[in-house]
Amino acid sequence: MTTLASQTKYKNTQKTKDRIISIFIGFFALAWLFPIAWTIWSSLRPYNDVIANGVFSVPKTLNFDNYYNAIRLMKLPMYLTNSMLITVPAVLLTLGFGSLIAFVVSRYSFKFNVALLLFFTAGNLLPQQLVFIPLFKMYLWIGDLFGNRALLYDSILGVVLIHVAFQLGFATFVLSSYLKTIPKEISESAMVDGASVWVHYTQIILPLLRPPLASLAVLMSTWIYNDFFWALVLMKSDSKRPITSALARLQGEFVTDFNLLAAGAIVAALPTLIVFIVLRKQFVSGLTLGSTKG
């Protein structure tokens, strides 16, 4: 049968084409990773070796000295701790608040539902710099209200709060999209059974939200951990800075010893890289929920 023959022929040409495509893309994928590989490679070489023998020389030694020195000299543990102190509470608060709004907006029909969602989503798209000047003044003013100027400015709390405020939109949007896919019957039977709003939320909805919460947690931790702007402008004490603003500082401090700097950069990038490798599926599904309707 000619159809079968032509189908097979089509399949075979497609297979060859696919192989070529795969190789082509493979080449690019390797090129994509090359800069990172180069940085890791450089971080394993001592600076003096590179200076003496050139960038492409075969290394006399490869060691982890740069890493050891980076962790020690760059005070990396302190900065990483600050990053954690900012990221973890910020993610928890954002997901918590987001789930509250998503819950109300998708399980109950209020007139303001759509407006509220619109509001939050739009807020997420605002550029950070649009907000900075009055925010700074506001932080000081609120601090003064409570008698402590450093309550929000130059404090971990202040940075956490602004992250929460900004990320709330995305979290709300994703969670409410997800909730739309959950049949209304579950909620309705709960309400018929006389469950209070609180019980409805904590015992019925929240457990169902585990998948998107997990994905969002992964996405948001990466974004917040990687943020550069807020800690740069809202913090003055070096000892409170997270790793990303600290790296900018380290670039100035160790500008001549770039092999050391490379090691520092890799250490700083490790948390997000590890999260990505281990929890890749959550990443993907987190983005899914944000980009399409379920």
Binding site: F136, R149, Y153, L232, V233, S239, A248, R249, E253, V255
Partner: protein
């Protein structure tokens, strides 16, 4: 549209000072009038500059202070650029009590805004340790002092003695512009970069502009230009850029790719002849090796116009301020008083830092040859300027002049258009 009342003071006043102090020990300097250290509670010191050499001397001086007075100090080091960019927020928020800062317009602006603490009382106590011109440079527009000078450094031609010997050149004896050009030519012939320049940050080339303007048109014109009293479209300014353009063939090809660190690295790695820079980076040479540091030398930029000779130099003054919003302003004053005094300066010298002290009570006999040469270079000049971005409005220096010079370096033929644009943007600045 522009009020220039704020710009007049520090420059003309520094002019009044004759040879600005530092050479020799002032006669009859009564030392710290029996100032027993008061116990004023813990203080915070904001340090600027994260290079290894900088962190090192800050820590050494802090320890010395604590030992000498029994007070405790928390040191908070900052990246210089980030610190400068965020100073406004820093001072309004929760600043350290004392912090490193610069003299000039940058200091006066914040003093005018009430963000700096009046330190006239400190001047009353230790003012005799500084030459008159320093006091004038530390004075705000209201006649009170807001700044304690600690160090200063000249902008001049830096080079490696060994390189120059190899090339058979003698930079110390360059008298005129032609000699200078010959030197650049000779350097280039030998395969090195004649005049290293890195202007990625936008401000580095201002050093070259400042000195060319001062050499060609004189101190007064330079000052007036920055205050808006002269026009950028004046033929005199175009003249400056003509000379600037003459140097371009002898510069490295990637001027706009590298910032001052790149310039420094070119000299560190012996790839260039001369470099116009402030001497603050000398510590980095010492970090590399003592031999490299010994190889470093500086001379003033050559004369161009005999009418002006070599009478002007950019010699920015760095020092200390006390923040008005600090928690412990009294402590801050005590801290900066000690830091700026002979004892503080000596502690810094002892830590190996290669700066030149503004304190005239300083025992300069322990200065190494390079430090003494810096003093000589500064001492030769009659007029001192603070560097373009400290001598003019902040919303003009970096947003307007810096890109203008970068555009010039990219396309020297466009200079007339560029200057017209600079003048137009100056005219459009809102009144202060």
């Amino acid at each position: 549209m522009m009020s220039d009342q704020n710009n007049g003071i520090s420059r003309r006043s520094v002019l009044k000072g004759a040879a600005v102090g530092g050479l020799g020990i002032a006669a009859g300097g009564s030392l710290l009038a029996g100032c027993g250290s008061k116990d004023v509670g813990p203080m915070k010191w904001g340090g600027r500059g994260l290079e290894e050499s900088s962190v090192q001397w800050h820590e050494a001086v802090k320890t010395a202070y604590e030992t000498a007075t029994g007070n405790t100090v928390t040191l908070n080091m900052n990246d210089a650029n980030a610190f400068q960019n965020n100073l406004s927020q820093y001072l309004q928020g929760t600043p350290d009590d004392g912090f490193d800062w610069m003299a000039g317009y940058r200091m006066q602006f914040y003093a005018d805004q009430g963000l700096l603490e009046d330190v006239s009382s400190v001047w009353d106590e230790i003012g005799d340790q500084f030459a008159e011109s320093y006091k004038i440079a530390s004075t705000g527009s209201d006649g009170k002092q807001y700044f304690l000078p600690t160090s200063w450094y000249p902008w001049g031609l830096h080079y490696r003695k060994s390189t120059m010997t190899e090339l058979g050149l003698d930079p110390e004896n360059i008298a005129t512009w032609d000699d200078f050009m010959k030197m650049l030519e000779a350097t280039k012939k030998k395969g090195l970069i004649g005049y290293a320049l890195g202007d990625k940050g936008g401000w580095e080339a201002m050093g070259t502009f400042d000195i060319l303007n001062a050499r060609i048109n004189g101190y007064q014109f330079h000052v007036d230009l920055l205050a808006g009293k002269e026009k950028w479209t004046d033929a005199k300014v175009a003249e400056v850029f003509k000379y600037f353009e003459m140097m371009i063939p002898y510069m490295n090809k990637n001027v706009l790719d590298i910032s001052w660190e790149g310039m420094r690295d070119l000299l560190l790695q012996k790839k260039c002849g001369a470099m116009m820079m402030g001497s603050w980076f000398s510590g980095d040479f010492k970090t590399l090796s003592q031999a490299d540091y010994d190889d470093l030398w500086i001379v003033p930029f050559p004369e161009i116009n005999p009418e002006h000779g070599r009478d002007t130099i950019d010699a920015p003054i760095d020092g200390l301020c006390v923040a008005a919003n600090g928690e412990n302003t009294e402590g801050g004053k005590e801290l900066v008083k000690w830091l700026a005094s002979k004892d503080g300066m000596q502690a810094r010298l002892d830590s190996g830092n290669t700066f030149t002290s503004a304190n005239n009570g300083q025992d300069t006999s322990s200065y190494d040859p390079f430090q003494k040469q810096q003093l000589a270079v500064m001492g030769e000049a009659k007029y001192i300027t603070q560097f373009l971005d400290r001598d003019t409005r902040q919303d003009f220096a970096n947003p307007v002049v810096a890109p203008a010079i970068q555009n010039f370096l990219r396309a020297p033929k466009d200079i007339n258009k560029i200057l017209e644009s600079v003048q137009a943007q100056w005219d459009a600045l809102p009144a202060l």
